[in-house]
Structures are given as C-alpha cells and as structure tokens.
C-alpha cells in the first residue's frame, strides 16, 4: 500500500499532472474566496477544460479545486465576515472578530495552517482507512440521518452567546423556509399561495448570501456613521500586523486534541453523503467550544474557533473522497462531477475501483496530499494582496461586494428569481441581526431542512414504528447526544451568567 502511494506521489509530481493540480488549486482558492461562488460552481467551470486531458490530470485538477475551495472560503470569512463558501460559516464566528481586533493576518494564517494540517491528517485516514470508514456510511439508514441532523441542529442552536431560545428559534425559521415551495417527495405545493415566485421555493445559496452578506454589510455601513461620526473599530485602515508562521503553527500544535478531534468530525460528516462542509465546520466548532477550558472566549476572536472550523472543513474533503473511492457513489456535488469525469473517460467506478485502477486511485490520493502544499504556496503568494482588502475603505468595498453577491446569485440559474430571493432574505437577515438572532442556526436549518424531511418520510415508509429512531443503536445514540448537547449548552450558559454576575458586582 505504501509503495502504491509512493508510486502515486512520484507519478503526480510530473509536470503534466502537477500543473493541472496547481491550476485547479489556484482557481479553487479564488472561487472559494468569492462569496456567492461555491466550490461546486468552480468545479463545473473547470470540468470542460479537463476533457482534453488524460483522466488523472483532469481528476487532479478537480481535487485541487476541491482542496483550494475549502480553504479559500476562509479569506472572505475572516476579512469581510461573509463566508466565501458555505463551508466557512463557522470561520466567521472567530475569524472576523480576530481580524477586527487588528490581527487579520493571524486569523487568516491560523485558518490556512489549520486547513493544511486538518487536510493532511484527513489524508492519513483516506489512504489507510477508506474501506472500514466508508462501510460506516452504509450503516446510516434514514433513521440515522434524521437523528444526525437533529444533533447537528441541537449543536448549532447551543452555540449562540445570547440565548439558547433564540438559537433554537433561528433553526426553526431556517427549517420553515425549506418547507415553502413544492415538497421534495410528492411535489405538493406548500405555502405558495398560488404564486409562481414562491412556488419555486427559496434556493439555498441566494438565502445564504442574502442573510450573511447583506446583513453583515448593512450593519457595517450603519456603524460608519455612528454617534460620533467615527468609524468604529473595523478593518478600515488597519495596518498589517506582524505575525510569524512559526507562531501560528505553535498555536495550532499546542492544541493537538482540538486539531485531531476537529479533523475526525469533518471526516465523518464528509463520509456521509449529502451533508457537506457547512455542517462539519459548525459541528467541529461546537465541539471545540464544549471541550474548551475557556468557552466564553469563543465568538470574540478565539484561535480555537478558527482552528476547529478550518481543520474540519478540509478533512471533510477527504471524507467525501472516501465514499466515491470505496463505492463509486458520490457524496456531494463536487465528487459527483469527479465521477462524471471518470465516466467520460470510460472508467468504471464502483467497489472494485481501487483494485482495478490502482494508478488512478492512488493518483487521486497523491493529488489530494500534494494539493495542500500547492494551496499553501498559493496562499503565501496571494495573501499580501488579499490582506490589502482590509485597507480598502468601506464605502468602496461594500458596493463591490454587494455587486459580486448579486451577480453570484443571478449566475446560479440565470434567473432574476434568485436575485429577488437574495434581496428578500437580506432584509430578513438584517432584521434578525437587529433583534439579536444568530444567523448560523438558520443557515444550517436551511441546508438540512429538505434532507430531514426526506429521511423522516423514508423511515416512516420503510417501517411505521417511531421507536426505531431510539432502538436502532446509532440513531438512538445520536438523539441522546442531541439532548445532552442542549443540556450542556444550558449548563454553560448558566455558569457563564453566574460568573459574569460574580465578576461585575459593582454594576
């Protein structure tokens, strides 16, 4: 196995593979960094260019896009507070505050290095444990998926600083949004009031951009003309701070358990089809906070938050690659495009793929591993330029970002419908921010809504007994974990409130 991997690495290190890999990673980082451009869209743009290449070169390019895109999202997340891709939602929680505190470089490099180490750690699992780990994914039936999604939502609802209730409400709003439109099983129109506009439902990406980008930029803009007419502490005009790569790496390796656990969370979510990086980064972030000795520092620019989110979303990629390598079943849209590329070249995917095509299989492993140093080089080259964003005046930056968001939303389906959805949810997001609602639970509810419903219906169609959700061991365990997660969040809130009350007696 090691010799196969060594062969793969030597093979990929040839220019004809290294060049597409590098180009793919570069495009991935850029695509990931642009809010409104997802990794899926980027990989679809890259696909036609790979037709002429030999299969492995094309797959290497796509692997590069996947790895680069999973990292690129953190740039916008840290610098603008807008997730560049859905997988970097949790990076905004601490990356943006850290950047605002005058350390954008530290925030970004913590993220990039955490991505590198999380991704490479994930590669270890990918190369040595693909078979057994992918087998776990098959054990997940509709009951397990349903319970897992309940756990994910319980976790994210508990993340909010202010109130658990508002977190849960926000999740519920997200779920409700997905109910609008035609239902995913019988295509029955719901809450459409006979309107064409509502009938199409609210596609996820315009809502995400609307809620995050619009609401974020609007709150930034209103602070510009604050009471004293002074720009509040923001990124505007911040001088680049000094930081060292060694220091950043020390910060990460001082917390080996955090790195390892975030990687494992990302990996497991990646193996399970149809969930994706957004859920994994949020879940890893939640875990980091629950295990942390200083949970109260999260949300204010705590390095642990950035490490957890970014390590897990890159490990997520290795998880997604596992299902396609082990069974030829794509776990998400990006691996589906990769599978399509194999089909085009007449490569039969399936459980025998690794043994029948060891050159390509180990080539993909090698490309995945080598994509990380490529990504690092690209980030080192780009970052001085990217960090300049922090010195651009908000009056210039805001319109540019807004235009990019609108164009991104429009380009999804080339319809104005998405732009209107974006506008509508920009307003809704802004109102929710003003009322003190956290937005991440809403987004997770939105991402998982359809899947929760589909799996619930499947479970009931297979067997009407509701007890199966509790008596099937994995499903039952996940539901217990969900209950514990909420209980722990309540306990942490109470403890935090008590501590605040003790610390500030002179109020």
């Amino acid at each position: 196995m090691l010799d196969l991997l060594a062969n793969g690495l030597v093979n990929i290190a040839q220019w004809k593979y290294l060049l597409p890999l590098f180009a793919g990673t570069f495009i991935g980082v850029i695509g990931g960094a642009l809010p409104g451009v997802t990794i899926t869209m980027t990989v679809i743009v890259v696909l036609p260019f790979t037709y002429g290449l030999d299969p492995l070169a094309g797959l290497a390019a796509m692997t590069g896009v996947y790895v680069g895109g999973s990292t690129g999202g953190l740039i916008a997340a840290c610098l603008l507070g807008i997730p560049g891709s859905p997988a970097s939602i949790a990076t905004t929680f601490d990356g943006f505050p850290m950047a605002r505190n005058g350390e954008p470089g530290r925030a970004i490099w913590l993220g990039v290095w955490a991505s590198v180490w999380g991704g490479l750690l994930g590669a270890l699992f990918l190369v040595f444990l693909t078979g057994p780990l992918a087998a776990i994914a098959l054990e997940f039936g509709p009951w397990e998926y349903f319970s897992l999604f309940v756990l994910a939502m319980a976790m994210v609802a508990g993340l909010t600083e202010a109130s658990l209730l508002k977190g849960l409400l926000s999740t519920a709003i997200g779920l409700l949004i997905t109910v609008v439109g035609h239902d995913p099983i019988g295509s029955v129109p719901r809450f459409t009031f006979g309107s064409e506009f509502v009938g199409g439902g609210f596609p996820f990406l315009p809502v995400l951009i609307g809620v995050f980008a619009f609401a974020q930029i609007m709150t930034d803009l209103e602070k510009l003309n604050g009471p004293r007419g002074q720009p509040v502490p923001s990124l505007v005009g911040v001088k680049l701070e000094r930081f060292s790569h060694l220091g950043v790496n020390l910060e990460i390796f001082k917390r080996p358990f955090l790195l390892a656990w975030s990687t494992i969370v990302g990996l497991i979510i990646g193996i399970l089809p149809a969930i994706g990086g957004s859920a994994s980064s949020v879940m890893a972030y939640d875990q980091a906070r629950k295990f942390s000795k200083t949970p109260e520092r999260f949300g204010k620019g705590h390095p642990e938050g950035i490490i957890a989110s970014e390590a897990s979303n890159n490990a997520n990629v290795s998880g997604s690659l596992m299902t396609i390598m082990a069974f030829g079943i794509p776990g998400d849209a990006v691996t589906a495009v990769m599978l399509g590329a194999m089909t085009i070249h007449g490569i039969q995917s399936g459980p025998l793929f690794i043994s029948q095509n060891p050159d390509i299989a180990y080539g993909i492993y090698a490309a995945y591993i080598l994509a990380h140093p490529c990504m690092l080089l690209i980030c080192i080259a780009l970052m001085p330029l990217m960090l300049r964003v922090t010195s651009v005046r908000m009056a210039v930056l805001a319109p540019v970002v807004l235009v990019l968001c609108v164009v991104g939303a429009y380009a999804l389906n080339n319809t104005m419908q998405s732009v209107y959805v974006l506008l509508l949810f920009g307003v809704i997001g802004y109102v929710l921010v003003k009322l003190g609602f956290p937005l991440a639970p809403l987004i997770l509810g939105l991402i998982l809504g359809d899947q929760i419903e589909i799996n619930l219906v499947r479970a009931i169609m297979t067997d009407p007994s509701p007890w199966l959700f509790l008596t099937r061991p994995i499903s039952g365990g996940l539901l217990v974990a969900a209950a514990l997660s909420v209980a722990l969040a309540i306990w942490q809130h109470l403890r935090h409130q008590k501590r605040v009350a003790e610390e500030e007696p002179d109020f």
């Binding site: 589906a336 039969q348 080339n414």
Partner: protein
C-alpha cells in the same frame, strides 16, 4: 504620456465591452455555453449517460454544454425548471420516460408536450436488483418469499416514475405485493441498497461494477434477450413474465424554441451519437445507442405517452 495611455486603454476596453454587448444580436447560435438540465442527482444512470453525451454534443455545437443536476420530487423539479426556461436553445432538457408517468400520477402538471423534441439518444433496459444483504439468489426464491410476506419487501423507487412502474408491473405479473419507499434517483437508491436499508430496486447495467464486487445482485433483466454485458442475468420473459421495459432518454427544448436553433441542436445530436467513443461509453453503461430524429422522436413520445396512460390505469396509479 502615461495619462494618454490610460485613456487609450480605457477607450479600447470600452469598445471591447460594447462589441461584446452588441455581439449576441448578430452572432450565430450558439455563441455561449448551453445548460443541460438533468432532473436527477449526479452519479445516477441518467447522469452517467448524459455526461459522455454532453462531451460529444458540445464538440459538434462548438460551445460548452454544462450539466446542471436539478433533482427532487421524482424529477419534476428539473422538468418544471426546464419548462420555464427561456426558449432560446441555451437550456436543453435531458429527459426520460418518467415525464409521462409523473403527469398521469398527478405528481406534476408538466407534460411531454410542453417541450419540443430534439432527438432520442439512448435506451436502457431495466434490471430488477437486490441488496446483497437479502437471502435471494434467484427470482424464484424472491417470488416465494414475497408470497409469504406480502407488503413487507421494501423497494426503493422514485415515486410515480419508471423505477416505481417497473417493479409495479412485476408485482402485477407475479401476483405479489411490495412496499415502496421514496428514494429519488439511482445514486441514493444504491446507497440504501448497499446498506440493506431497502431490499430491492430498479436499476440497470450501469451498476454492473457493484454486482461484480458482490455488493448487490441482478435478479432479472427486462429486455427481449439476455444482454451480452451480463449473460448470466435471465430475462423476465424467460421467467414467464411478459415484461419488456426500457427507459428511453432524449433531448428536449422548451416549447417555442425557434426552428433554426432546434435544427442546429438536432444536427449536433445526430453527429454526437455516432461518435465511437460515445458508443464505447454506452456499452460500459449497459445501454444501447438509440438515435431518433426530431420527427421520429415526436411520434415515439406520443406512442409512449399512450402506453404510459394504459400502464398507469392498469396499475391503478392514475390520477388524471
């Protein structure tokens, strides 16, 4: 001097933008990428058939053909999106026989006649497929078990679509009763079948790799004769059931697409299906290349629509 240069560059850039903007009015169709809506999840059989097709198709169109997987609600979400797209030839719809069935099942009001046919591309015989976690090695064992436990054997299916109708025809022919569970698209069904969360499903020879790896079993194929790609799999006819069931896949465009545009698409399609690499890709997918021109495809669609109505009435699934 530097300023003049900047101004000149600005003028040049502006001229470029204007040329780009005024371009489409004069240019020949197609002058930008074409979106192909595949109404199923990526990695399924429809996807696996149209991806190699798109490669050849774009070669003869001279513009990239980008596949958009718009899944959900038994393929009707993609159908609805295709129906509502601008009839300008920049959105094409990768369709299969489900469109007739979902209409008669009352799942969707989108009809095949909401589109203009371009060409028929391929036909794939359905194969009744069992999870390796089930005990049945042959059809007889399955049928005996099904008679003992009516309504207990689970079949993953896209409700109201071909993967629902095909097992339903077997139910009727063999006098047995299955329990249907909603799994849209072949890729999610395969996941569930491998995990043993469903017992049976409709698939096809695209899944041959998994049979060779012994993680699932082909029980019977719905073709006239045994397929050379899978000579061990008996036909339903051999087993005494008069069922031949193929899923035919073709390309359609929204109604109102101009005739010259359709002619261009049809011409490219006719050339694409003749490419040897496409034939090779289809062979691997257990699919036969079945080209029909727009006129013939229109007749074919009308015939299948009538047959679908009859089948749905027979099975008691008809809603309109």
């Amino acid at each position: 001097m530097a300023r003049t240069f900047v101004t000149m560059a600005g003028v040049a850039a502006l001229a470029g933008v204007l040329a780009a903007l005024s371009g489409p009015a004069m240019a020949q169709y197609p002058d930008r990428p074409i979106k192909m809506i595949v109404p199923w999840a990526a990695g399924g059989d429809t996807d696996n058939i149209f991806r190699p097709f798109a490669v050849e198709f774009q070669k003869h169109l001279g513009q990239p053909v980008v596949i958009a997987n718009v899944g959900g609600a038994s393929g009707t979400v993609g159908a609805r999106e295709a129906q509502k797209s601008a009839p300008d030839g920049y959105t094409v719809y990768a369709m299969h026989d489900y469109i007739h069935l979902t209409f008669y099942a009352g799942i969707s009001d989108v009809k095949y006649s909401d589109f203009e046919p371009v060409c028929l591309v391929a036909a794939t015989p359905s194969v009744l497929t069992a999870s390796a976690k089930t005990p049945w090695k042959t059809w007889q064992e399955l049928a005996d078990d099904a008679k003992k436990r009516p309504g207990e054997i689970t079949v993953g299916a896209t409700l109201g679509s071909t993967s629902h109708i095909f097992p339903a025809m077997i139910e009727k022919a063999a006098g047995i009763k299955f329990k249907f569970v909603s799994y849209d698209g072949l890729a999610p069904r395969m996941n569930a079948l491998l995990g043993g969360h469903i017992n049976l499903t409709d698939s096809n020879l695209t899944q041959k790799g998994k049979v060779e790896a012994a993680v699932l079993r082909f029980i019977a194929i719905a073709s006239e004769k045994r397929d050379p790609e899978a000579p061990d799999v008996p036909t339903l006819k051999e087993l005494g059931m008069n069922i031949v069931y193929e899923v035919a896949r073709g390309v359609m465009v929204p109604k109102g697409t101009p005739a010259p545009v359709r002619a261009k698409l049809e011409e490219a399609c006719a050339k694409a299906v003749k490419e040897p690499s496409f034939a090779q890709a289809m062979k691997l997918q257990g699919t036969r290349v079945a080209y029909l021109s727009a006129i013939d495809y229109a007749q074919f669609l009308a015939r299948i629509d009538g047959e679908s109505k009859t089948i749905m009435t027979d099975l008691g699934l008809i809603k309109k």
